[in-house]
Symmetry: C2
Subunit: 155 residues, 2 copies
């Protein structure tokens, strides 16, 4: 018998969510912000996979898990190109690109140390805006400072 | 056409290493100590998978990568149950359980802050020993303090 294996079979999962089209270099960050390092759910994960759209992409599949809006917002902030696919009883029940809402609450800190949200522990709230170049920015509802992607820090 | 998918096909990788039989809860730690979060090599990864031997296991497959002794020692410290499988041109060329050598050099810090290795930056060296209960311990060649698994910190 030959030892050659050109294909591997991975059992499909009855109920799961797939996060596809993650920019490859963001794959582990998506795992981190969703706290998947500490879950006991089954996870399949691939990174630096060939993708027609992105060159290289990451993909994450988690069993028995459907993400809440807050979690989807986190994914949209880190990996705006991602697609979310929900599978129930082996059937695709939902497939859509993640998108940012108009407002983001709770999940990220304001980068301004003097902002009342940092001093008094008030729930954060940001308006999602675009600058003149079309780049996504977050406008703090409280201190009115604007921060870019590079300043995002999750709670 | 039905949307049902009971199996997924994952392309096999021509040249790769598979780390199998990782205790599930150590899966992400193995990724971390091998610095795989920052590699551009293709990675497939699964955790909380059913295993006859371990209940739940993790598995990591990395393309175009064969681990050096120092890296294998790291795996053996974190996941002593792991099996290393090397694949070249789709053939299994090597399959063996990881094992600790008699001495471990370079990769871990001495937990004694007063140890000369910490003060003068000398390369660390530990003898791998067992205590009276058969538990693995590391005896520092320099300060002669003995540390357990819980004190291991990688450089």
């Amino acid at each position: 018998m030959s030892n050659k294996r050109k294909e591997l079979k991975v059992s499909a999962i009855r109920n799961s969510t797939v996060i596809d089209h993650i920019p490859s270099e963001k794959s582990f960050q998506v795992i981190k912000i969703l706290n998947l390092e500490n879950t006991t759910n089954q996870i399949y994960f691939g990174t630096s996979l060939d993708s027609k759209k992105f060159g290289k992409k990451g993909i994450i599949k988690i069993s028995n898990k459907y993400f809440k809006n807050e979690e989807i917002n986190k994914i949209a902030l880190v990996a705006p190109s991602a697609t979310l696919i929900e599978i129930a009883d082996y059937e695709v029940t939902k497939k859509e690109k993640v998108h940012l809402p108009n407002y983001i609450e709770k999940i990220i800190k304001c980068f301004n140390p003097k902002c009342v949200t940092n001093i008094q522990g008030i729930t954060t709230k940001f308006k999602v805006i675009k600058d003149h170049k079309g780049t996504m920015k977050l406008l703090c509802h409280y201190c009115e400072k604007t921060m870019g992607k590079e300043n995002i820090e999750f709670f």
